[in-house]
Symmetry: C2
Subunit: 496 residues, 2 copies
Amino acid sequence: MRGGNLSGSEGHLLESGLVVPVCRTRKPSSFSPPKPKFFTVRRSLAIRAMSGSPAVSLKEKEGTPKGSMGSLISTDPPKGTRDFPPEDMRLRTWLFNNFREVSRLFSFEEVDFPLVESEELYTRKAGEEIVGQLYNFEDKGGRKVALRPELTPSLARLVLQKGRAQSYPLKWFAIGQCWRYERMTRGRRREHYQWNMDIIGVPGVEAEAELLSAIVTFFTKLGITSNDVGIKVSNRKVLQAVLEKFNIPVDSFPAVCVIVDKLEKLPREEIEGELDKAGVPSNAVEGILKALSLKSFDDLEALIGAQSGAVAELKQLFALAEGYGIQDWLHFDASVVRGLAYYTGTVFEGFDKDKKLRAICGGGRYDRLLSTYGGQDTPACGFGFGDAVIVELLKEKKLLPVLPHVVDDVVMALEDSLRVPAAGVAARLRSKGRVVELVIEKGKKMKWVFKHCDTLKAKRLVLLGSTEWDQGKVNVKDLDAREQTLKTVDELIEST
Amino acid sequence: MRGGNLSGSEGHLLESGLVVPVCRTRKPSSFSPPKPKFFTVRRSLAIRAMSGSPAVSLKEKEGTPKGSMGSLISTDPPKGTRDFPPEDMRLRTWLFNNFREVSRLFSFEEVDFPLVESEELYTRKAGEEIVGQLYNFEDKGGRKVALRPELTPSLARLVLQKGRAQSYPLKWFAIGQCWRYERMTRGRRREHYQWNMDIIGVPGVEAEAELLSAIVTFFTKLGITSNDVGIKVSNRKVLQAVLEKFNIPVDSFPAVCVIVDKLEKLPREEIEGELDKAGVPSNAVEGILKALSLKSFDDLEALIGAQSGAVAELKQLFALAEGYGIQDWLHFDASVVRGLAYYTGTVFEGFDKDKKLRAICGGGRYDRLLSTYGGQDTPACGFGFGDAVIVELLKEKKLLPVLPHVVDDVVMALEDSLRVPAAGVAARLRSKGRVVELVIEKGKKMKWVFKHCDTLKAKRLVLLGSTEWDQGKVNVKDLDAREQTLKTVDELIEST
C-alpha cells in the first residue's frame, strides 16, 4: 500500500512540503493594541508609479490627502509564497533549530548552495514531476536557469567540484528553500523549506541506517512516537530484479521507477500506457505490480531470489535498525519507489499512521547521480524533509510548541529628560546578556507599560523617575514576584 | 568626505555586500584524505542529456567506461553565486548567530519575506542603482517579478498587510539573501546576505539611537573597536533645507538625493547634468556641495538655521549616543546621503577607518515609504548590514574566528559483526546530547581512525572489539588525557 494520500512523489523534493500552509501558532493577545492613525488598509492590485518618497516636511501637493500617496499595492506575498511574520518565524526557527541539533548529534556538517542553478542540473528525461514543475526562466544574459527544486543536484555538483580536496565519507546537511512552478496552479505553494542529510562515499546500508536513525531522533525530539509515524522502506533493486526477469532494457529503469511511483495517482490504463512507451511489455506489468505488493522478506525472497542484493541489503538495514532501537518505526513495503529518477538502492518514506497527510519525508540511495553528471560513480544516500507536513502533523497531534517572544527587562524613562540615562541602563543590562525592551515611544502611560510588559512576558520593569534618579536610583519592579525596590544602577546590574 | 572607496550607495542594499567574496577560513589539514577512486574531475561546460541513472548492477552499455556517463557538467555555481561548503558555512552561521544574538538583546523579533517579489515593489523612478540592477524576469504566468534586491520594501508590504492587527512599535529584524543583476558584469557577486533591523511606529530619533547602538554592540561582540570602525551620521533634512532655499520642487527631492550620493563616483559635470534634469538650477549646485562638506553642528546651524529640524534631530541623536556609550563611534558628516530614494531623515553609514573597504552597513529613516505604497504615513527607520565587507574587515583585523567541526565521540566497531551494537552505543550517546561520529565505512585501519579523530577534534574514541564485548565492555580512549579504560555501556553513558 502506498503512502496515505500522497499525491506527489518526488523523493528529496516532497511535493507535500510545498502544499500545506504552515499553521500559525498566533494566539489572541489579551492586550488591545493602540490603534495607529496611519493605517487604512485595503487590498488593491494597482501600484502608484512612484517617483520616490518626498521628505516629510515638504509641502504636499494640492489635492493629495496628507500621508496617502495613491492606491494601495497588493499587500499579499506573490502567489504561492509566504511571508514570515514574527509568530510564523518563531515556529520556523524552532523547527530549523531541531533540524540542526539532530544533524549535529550525528556529526553532520552544514552546507548550502545557490538558490539559482543552471537548468541543466535538473533536466533529466525520466518524466519526473519535479522536472515538469521546474521554476525556470531565462536570465538577462540568456542563460537557462531555475530556482532550485531540490538540494541534491547542487550537493552532487559541489562534491564533484571539491573532488579530491576532501576526505570521505562526507556527512553533510542543508536546510534550504526549494521552488516549483505549475502552469496549472491549484492554489498550491511554490516554495517550501527542506532539510537534507546526505552521506557521500559509503556504499553499505550502514549509511541509510544512520539517516533513518537521524529522522527518528528528530521525531522523538518533537514528541512524535512510532504510534504516530512510520517509515516505509524498500529497495529499487526489487523492481530492478523484476525488470531483469522480463529482459527490460537497462536504460528504462529510471523512467519505469518514476511511472510506477504514480500507481496510486493515475488510472491503471494510463500507467500501462506509460510503461509501454518506456519499453515495458504488458505481460511484465502484472509481475511488477505483484512485486510492489509484497510486505515480507520471505515473500520477496520467493519472488526475486537473493541474487539481486535487495533482500540482503534490506535484512542488514533492519538488523542495524534494531541496534539503533528504531525497529518499531520501520516497515518493509515494496510499494515505496519514490518519484525521482536517480535512486538506485534503498528508498524510504515517512508517513503518518492516521493516513491523513502526504509523505513527511523521503529519501534513498543514489549511487549513480555523480556519474550522470560526468563524474565517477560515488556511493551516496540522503533524504529530504519538508517544513510543511511535519507542522500539519504536530498540529494534528497537539504537539505544536507555544513560542512567545520573551523579554527580560523593560526599561522606561518616566520623563523625556531621562531618556539619555535610560539608554545607558538598557545598554548596561544588554551587556550582561539581558534581553531589554527600551521604551522609545513618547507619551506612554503606566497602564500601557504594564500591558506591554505582560505582552512581552517581561520579568522586570525598570523605571527612571527624576526623584529617584536624583538620588542615583531606579525603580525596579519584579513582575513575577510583584515586588518593587529602589536600586542604584550598579546594584541593578549586579543583581542581574 | 564620503565613505572611503564606496563605489555604490544603496542604503539598505550594500553594494559592497555583493562584491567581496567571503574569505575562507579553511586551514590545511594535517590529515591527508584517502584518495577516493571515484573522482577524475575536470571542468567542462557541457552536460550530458541525461536519461536518468540506471541502477548499479545493471549491465553497462558497451563502449561506455564503467561509472563515467559522459562529459562533466560545469561544477562551478552559476556566475555571481556562491556555494557554502562546510568551512564557509561555519563562518556564515557564526556571523548570522551574532546578528541574531544582538537583535535578540534589543528585543527585536525575526521575520522573513519571499525571495521572489513583484517587480513593482522596487521600480521607483529616482534613478537608484538598486533599480537599474534589478534581477527581474517574467514568470511562466507572465508576471513581472524580481529576486528581492533588498528587504525593506517587503517589510513595508507586510506591515501594510498586517495593518491594525499588530501593536506598535514593531521591532523587526531579518537575515535574508538579496540579489542583483548587472548586464555589464564585472565579476561581481549577484547575491549577498543582509541583516536588517527596523523599527516601525516611532517618530523620534530614539529609534535611530537604538539601531546605532545595536550596530555598535555587534561590532564590539566581534572584537572590533571604534579605532577600526566609525559610523557617519547625517540627516536628509539638511539637503532638503538647501533645496527649499533654492525653491526646488518637492518631487525632485528623492532623485536629487540619489544623484548627490554619486558625487564621489561620477565626474562633476555629469552630476550637474543629472541635477539639471532633476530641476536643480546650476546656481544651487554650489549650495548643495557646501552643505555636504559640513562636519560640525555649528556650521550646519549657520548654513541652514534650526528650522529644518535637522540640527535638533542630530543633536538629540548624539546626546542619546552618549547615554548608550557609543559616542566614540559616531561622526557627524553631512556628505552621507545614501543612495536609496526612500530615506527622509537620519541617514548613516558604517566605514572602516583605514578607508580600504566599501561601506560596512547603512540605513536611515524612511517615514514615507508606506505612503508611497498607498498606505498612510508611518514613521520608520532601519539599516542593512551585508555579509561580505564585515568578513573582509575581520580578515584585515585578524579577528576571523577559527571554527572547526567539533565531535565529542567517535564510535567504531572493530569487527563487522559488532556494527549493530556499535549503532546502539552511538544512539545512546546521542540521546545524552553527545555529538557522535559513528564509523560506517568498512575496512578502516586503526591508523586511519586516530587520524580521523584528530581531524574531527574528537574528545573520546569508543571501540567495540569482540573480546571486550563478550564481557559486556567497550574500550574507551580519552584522547585529551591519552587514557584508556574498559567500561560497560552503562558506565560509558553515566560517565558522559
